[in-house]
Symmetry: C2
Subunit: 142 residues, 2 copies
Amino acid sequence: MIIMTRMHYTRDNMAGLLRGHDINPTHQRIEIAHALFSRQEHLSADQVMAIVNTRHSETSKATVYNTLKLFLEKGLVREVIVDPSKVFYDPNTSPHHHLYEVDSGKLSDIDATQVQISGLPPLPAGMVTEGIDLIVRVRRTD
Amino acid sequence: MIIMTRMHYTRDNMAGLLRGHDINPTHQRIEIAHALFSRQEHLSADQVMAIVNTRHSETSKATVYNTLKLFLEKGLVREVIVDPSKVFYDPNTSPHHHLYEVDSGKLSDIDATQVQISGLPPLPAGMVTEGIDLIVRVRRTD
DNA sequence: CATCAATCTGGACTTTGTCTAATTTCCGGA
DNA sequence: TCCGGAAATTAGACAAAGTCCAGATTGATG
Ligand SMILES: [Mn+2]
Ligand SMILES: [Mn+2]
Ligand SMILES: [Zn+2]
Ligand SMILES: [Zn+2]
């Protein structure tokens, strides 16, 4: 019998997670990572900003943007571009796709292991795939 | 023997195209449609603005944005969201996917008839698919 | 010509994101 | 403990994309 324990993303765990991705774990970075990983949701910079500064202001706008960009470069989070007005940051870096509810703006994951994409043409020479984004846009039936 | 003639998107043809999509063909709308359809390229609002106002200023920013939104609502053009900083408008409304060169920002079409996507999970109840966007992000090999 | 609806316009405004110069924090060595 | 420098953070100015609105223009109709 195997017992699966769900990972708890506590602030303490965040320091190790950051170090594991070659990121110096500062107070602000830990808070921002915690906002994303404890929720396991797709958040915009604005939302991260609001979460991190709920009780009392602790992190500046510049730091939120700088930190999310750093996380992205280090492969700790992923960017999701579905909404023309803002970028979402995704703590789930395993290959997966997205379901986007256009009216509400709700964004959820689609497991990639079930999905197969075939028949893509060969890439132009000298090009390498950085990623394949599949977005299913849905809306409520009228 | 069948002779295929390539459609020429002249300004004169634009009026009919617009009427066919239930759009009153004004001078500005004809110019904007012509910018998109004569090139058959993915253009941002900014680029449309520049094209339409090359010789002498004839169309305001507000009208460019309003018109592109109108074209979108009427199904004359399609929106492509790949770049976090701007929306592209696509005169090709037939089902197709996109190849996005992340460094240069170059965007090109992938014919959808060759590509198959299988294994997508069923939609949540009360939801209907508005579209499936597949974006292949590529970059130059280092 | 007068009227009215549709369209277009300049420009103020908002939102998202970037940049920079000054400050604060952190750490290792004297 | 004190010092110096590197790394990180900050406030706020700035830029770019897009929205909004009140007034002007256009064009059809009687
Ligand atoms: Mn990782
Ligand atoms: Mn059409
Ligand atoms: Zn996701
Ligand atoms: Zn296209």
